[in-house]
Symmetry: D2
Subunit: 104 residues, 4 copies
């Protein structure tokens, strides 16, 4: 897995600017803005004219990528290794949730 | 870059269960729950006792990974190639935002 | 209408404490926490066992009130008259949205 | 207190349309959209050029009212009496939080 590369790319992008990373609560507000845009897109896709999964919107992919960008900024600010954390939660789910749903 | 591997791992996890992916608006609600937990963590870290970036909390990394998991579920449902979308937004930012901030 | 009374009650509550209103971005993070709890409740109500509207959960009402409280804090901080703003948006909707949906 | 009047006004507005109330998860997504707009406004107000509380923005009041509207829709759908719930949470806070902050 390599969220590491994405974290490095985001870090390189941010570090070309004087402003650098914003304060965490501002970055969080930016995450909320992006979630709002994903919500608008999904509400449009699902509300009045549900589409089949493969007829994806032109925008939902971009909105999700914007959202991930805004989250990686927070991870970088706090020096978090997302690959390691992702491994950890997959193990947590495997322990905690394995009997929560019905196995095929 | 390889969000691809993460998308595959999440897909494998979800597909072991009868329930499979939830409907998109339920997955979105799950994203909102996870953002709420990230918000709680950051408010705790920043509000009353601001810490230095390197003194990261024990939980913020896990909350961010949970949030990314919930977003990757939505991406998978809509058959989105996140690596491709991420490349696209990095190019969009490079065009749109390059003069928005002060270059070092 | 009288969001005024609610604004006054929240203000009285906050002003008994030394801390007073938190900085706006912290109050915004608190709103996000509350939205996350509403999302959890609605996902629970709607996902696996949809109920009829009148069989309301024991908690959704409380979560919505918590959320409104957190929003009124922000309104008070910015000295916003919510009754006036609410009147304004109802007029905006009446102009903007009157042909957006099908009249009965 | 009378969130009751606001609930009645929203109900009257919604009920003139064939569509009526949307499904709860769609209304929740609409709440998230509105929270995203509030986040954008507050990030703008607070991030780079913090203003004094009394120099309120032209838009934050409207965004907060839009957000309250979207929440009242959910409350109405679930037949929640917001005045009663608000009374209950104010009592809950008075019991739970009275020693959480420093009294003046």
């Amino acid at each position: 897995m390599s969220l590491k590369k994405i974290q490095a790319e985001v870090d390189k992008w941010i570090n070309q600017f004087e402003e650098g990373y914003w304060p965490p609560l501002s970055m969080l507000a930016a995450v909320m803005e992006e979630v709002g845009e994903v919500a608008r897109e999904i509400n449009f896709l699902e509300r009045f004219k549900p589409k089949k999964p493969w007829e994806k919107s032109g925008n939902i992919g971009e909105e999700l990528a914007d959202l991930i960008f805004s989250i990686v900024c927070i991870a970088n600010y706090y020096k978090i290794d997302l690959d390691k954390e992702f491994d950890k939660i997959m193990k947590k789910y495997a322990t905690r949730d394995i009997n929560r749903w019905r196995r095929k």
